[in-house]
Symmetry: C2
Subunit: 375 residues, 2 copies
DNA sequence: CTGAAAGCGCTAACAG
DNA sequence: CTGTTAGCGCTTTCAG
C-alpha cells in the first residue's frame, strides 16, 4: 500500500534495526501530510491543533492501525511515573478487583505499577520507605492502610502522594475515592424494612476500620427514620471475619423474639450467619432474611446467594490510578497538586437471601411468648 | 547553548530534559573508565569482557547505585515483548494469585502485560484474534481456556505462543506449567486413609475440565493401593460449584452406612459439604472429615477451615511469564522455539476439617469392629 | 576484547 | 496552529 520508499528523509537507509513493521508516528505523519509533532499532539490530545488537521491525523492513525510505543514515550517524556499498590488485607476477591482496575488504568496511562502486600502497618511503613527511596512517588492504599494516619503522614513526609481507595472517611487533605458507606447501609436497611421486617439484627464490623462505624450509623438512621425502636440486643459486635459472624449470629438468633432479618456488615459474616441459621434449621430467606455488604466472591458462591452491596472496587481503583497519575504529573511540572476526591455509586444487589417475613414470624414479632415456629 | 561539537567530553552542559539525576550507563562508563558499550555488555552478562574490566564496571555500578532504564532498554532493544493473560474463570481467589504472579515476573522481565477477561470460549477466540492483530505474541491461559483445543489451535495459527497454567494435562507440543493433580488427589486420599477412614466419599468436579478426571483417578488409585474396595455409591458427580457440592453432599450423607470422610475435588464443594453436614448436625471434623482442593480463599474463610491442596498458582504464573518471554525472545532472534514444560510441587495444607473417625463410626463402618489403628 | 557511530520512537523546547 | 531540532538511555552494527 503505502509505497514504502525513501520519502525525502532518511527512511530505510539502514533499516537493519527495524524488527517489525509496526507503524510509527512518522508513518502516520506522512500519511496525514503533517509533521510527527502534530501527530504527537493529537495522540496526547493537546489543545492546539486545528480540527481539520486532527481529523486527518485520526484517519491516518485508524488506517495504519497505529498505536504508540510505550517505551519510546516514557523515554522521551522524561520521568516514568511509577506508583505502588500496597495492601494489608489480602481478601482475594477484593484484591483481584483491585488489581484489575489498577492494571487496566495503569496500562492505559502508561504508568508502572508496583504491587506489594504487607503483613501489618509497621511493615507497611518500612515498605513505603523503601519504595519511596526506589523512586516511587505515589501510593494507592486500600483499607485498613488508608485509615492509618501514621502511614499517611509518612507518605507525605517522603514527599510522595497517597490516594485512598475506600477509606472509612475522606480526610480533607487527602486524595481519596470512596462510596458512601453510611448511605449504602441506610439503603440496605430501608430495603429490608421495605420488605416488611421490623426486628432486624445487625452485626458490626471490625472496630478498627472506620467504615464499620459508618455502616452501623446507616443502619441506625434507617431504623430511626422508620420509627422503629432500636433494640440493643439486636446489635452485636463482629470483626468482619467468618468466625466472628458465627458468634454474632448465634447471639442474635438466641434473642427472643427472634429477629426476622439480619444485616451483617460484610459478606463473610453474612455467610456465617446463613450457616448458623441452617444449622438451626432455619430456612434462608423464608425463615430469616440475611444481607451482606461488599459483594465479595463468597456472596455469590454460597447458597442461597447473598443480597448485598457492591462497591465498584474496580472503578474506584482505576479512578485512583488516574488521579494519582495526574497529581504526580502536575507535581513533576512544578504545578501545585491539590488532592482529588471522588465518591462513586454503589449498587444494592438483590439475590436470594432476602424475603418478606413469614406470617408466623410477623405474629411472633411483637412480644407474644408463643414461639409459633413454622416448621 | 547549542555548540556541542566535541565528542568525548559531554558534560551536563544542557541537562534541560534531564528530569532526575538518575545515573546512566554513561555515568557508569566514566566512573569505570571505559565505554558505555562495555558497561552494556556487563549488564547484559555477555561473554566478551575481561574480568578486570568487568569488575571495574561492577564497582562503578555499585558505587553509583545504577540501575538500567527499562524504557530505554526496550526502545533500543527492538521489539517490546507483550503478552496477554486471558481468563474465563474469574474465581477471585484464583485470579488474584494469578495476577500477582504474572505482574511480579512481568515487571522483573520488563514485558508488558495485557490482562483480559472473557465470557466464554468463542469470545475468547475473538479476543485472541484481536490481541494478536494488536501485536501480542504470547498468551497465558488458565483453565478452562487452556483445555480447549480450538483456542490452542488458533493461537498457533496466528503464529503466537501459548503457555497453559494448570491445564488438565500437558499436551506434548504445548508450553505448560502444572501440578500433578493425580498425585495430589492420591496424597490427599492417602492422608485421609492414614487418619483411619475407610468409607471415603468423593465429589467429582466439572466433567469438562480434565483436571477433574485426574483428581478422581488419584482418589481411586489410593483406594486401590490401600486395598479398600470402591463403593460406587460413595462417588458422586459435581460441577465444581457450591450448589453442586450441596447436592453431592446430600447424596453422600444419605448413603448407609454413612461415609466418615468426604473428599470434594475443590474447595467450593467442600465448603458446601461442611454446610450440609452442619445442617444435619454433624460436627466437622469429629463426625465427619471434609477435605477440599485448591486452597482458595473460601478454604480459610469458613469454619472450620478446610484441609486442602494448595496449587502454587502464583509461582506457576510467574514461571509461565518467564517461559513465554524466553520463547518469544528466542523466536525474535530467529531461533527455534521449543515449548517448555514444568511441573511444580503442590502442598497438602492441613487445617481443621479432618480428624480420625470416631469410635462410634468405626463400629458402624464396614465389618470389623476393631479399629486396629495405631493412633 | 573494546569502542564509535547510529539510531529505536517519541516528545520538550523553541521557533516560525 | 505547526514544524524543527535535539536528545531521552540504551543497544545494535561494525570497525578496530
Amino acid at each position: 500500500m503505502t509505497q514504502e520508499g525513501q520519502t525525502g528523509s532518511k527512511r530505510r537507509t539502514r533499516g537493519a534495526r527495524r524488527h517489525l513493521g509496526a507503524p510509527t508516528i512518522a508513518d502516520v505523519a506522512r500519511e496525514a501530510n503533517c509533521s510527527p509533532m502534530t501527530v504527537s499532539r493529537v495522540i496526547n490530545s493537546e489543545g492546539n491543533v486545528r480540527d481539520a488537521t486532527r481529523n486527518q491525523v485520526m484517519a491516518a492513525i485508524a488506517k495504519l492501525n497505529y498505536s504508540p510505543n510505550r517505551a519510546a514515550r516514557s523515554l522521551a517524556g522524561g520521568e516514568q511515573v511509577r506508583i505502588a499498590l500496597l495492601f494489608d488485607n489480602p481478601s482475594a476477591s477484593y484484591l483481584s478487583e483491585f488489581l484489575m482496575g489498577a492494571l487496566e488504568e495503569a496500562s492505559r496511562r502508561d504508568v508502572q505499577l508496583v504491587v506489594q502486600s504487607c503483613e501489618d502497618v509497621s511493615s507497611a511503613k518500612q515498605l513505603v520507605r523503601n519504595l519511596a527511596e526506589g523512586g516511587i512517588r505515589g501510593f494507592i492504599l486500600p483499607p485498613p492502610l488508608c485509615d492509618d494516619q501514621d502511614v499517611l503522614n509518612l507518605v507525605a513526609e517522603l514527599d510522595a502522594i497517597a490516594v485512598a481507595v475506600g477509606p472509612g472517611r475522606a480526610a480533607g487533605s487527602q486524595g481519596a475515592v470512596l462510596i458512601d458507606d453510611f448511605q449504602a447501609a441506610y439503603d440496605m436497611t430501608m430495603h429490608i424494612i421495605g420488605l416488611g421486617h421490623r426486628r432486624i439484627g445487625f452485626i458490626i464490623g471490625n472496630p478498627e476500620q472506620v467504615a464499620a462505624d459508618r455502616r452501623l450509623n446507616g443502619y441506625l438512621a434507617a431504623l430511626r427514620d422508620s420509627k422503629i425502636e432500636v433494640d440493643e440486643r439486636l446489635i452485636v459486635q463482629g470483626r468482619f471475619t467468618y468466625r466472628s459472624g458465627m458468634d454474632g449470629a448465634e447471639k442474635l438468633l438466641s434473642v427472643e423474639p427472634r429477629p426476622t432479618a439480619i444485616f451483617a456488615s460484610n459478606d463473610d459474616m453474612a455467610a456465617a450467619t446463613v450457616a448458623v441459621a441452617h444449622r438451626r434449621h432455619l430456612d434462608v430467606p423464608n425463615d430469616i432474611t440475611v444481607c451482606g455488604f461488599d459483594d465479595t466472591d463468597m456472596a455469590s458462591s454460597i447458597w442461597p446467594e447473598l443480597t448485598t452491596i457492591r462497591q465498584p472496587i474496580r472503578e474506584m481503583t482505576a479512578w485512583a490510578v488516574g488521579a494519582i497519575t495526574r497529581m504526580i504529573r502536575a507535581k513533576l511540572h512544578g504545578e501545585k497538586v491539590r488532592p482529588e476526591q471522588e465518591t462513586l455509586p454503589y449498587v444494592l444487589i438483590r439475590r436470594e437471601s432476602d424475603a418478606a417475613p413469614s406470617l408466623a414470624q410477623s405474629r411472633t414479632r411483637g412480644q407474644s411468648p408463643t414461639r409459633g415456629k413454622s416448621n
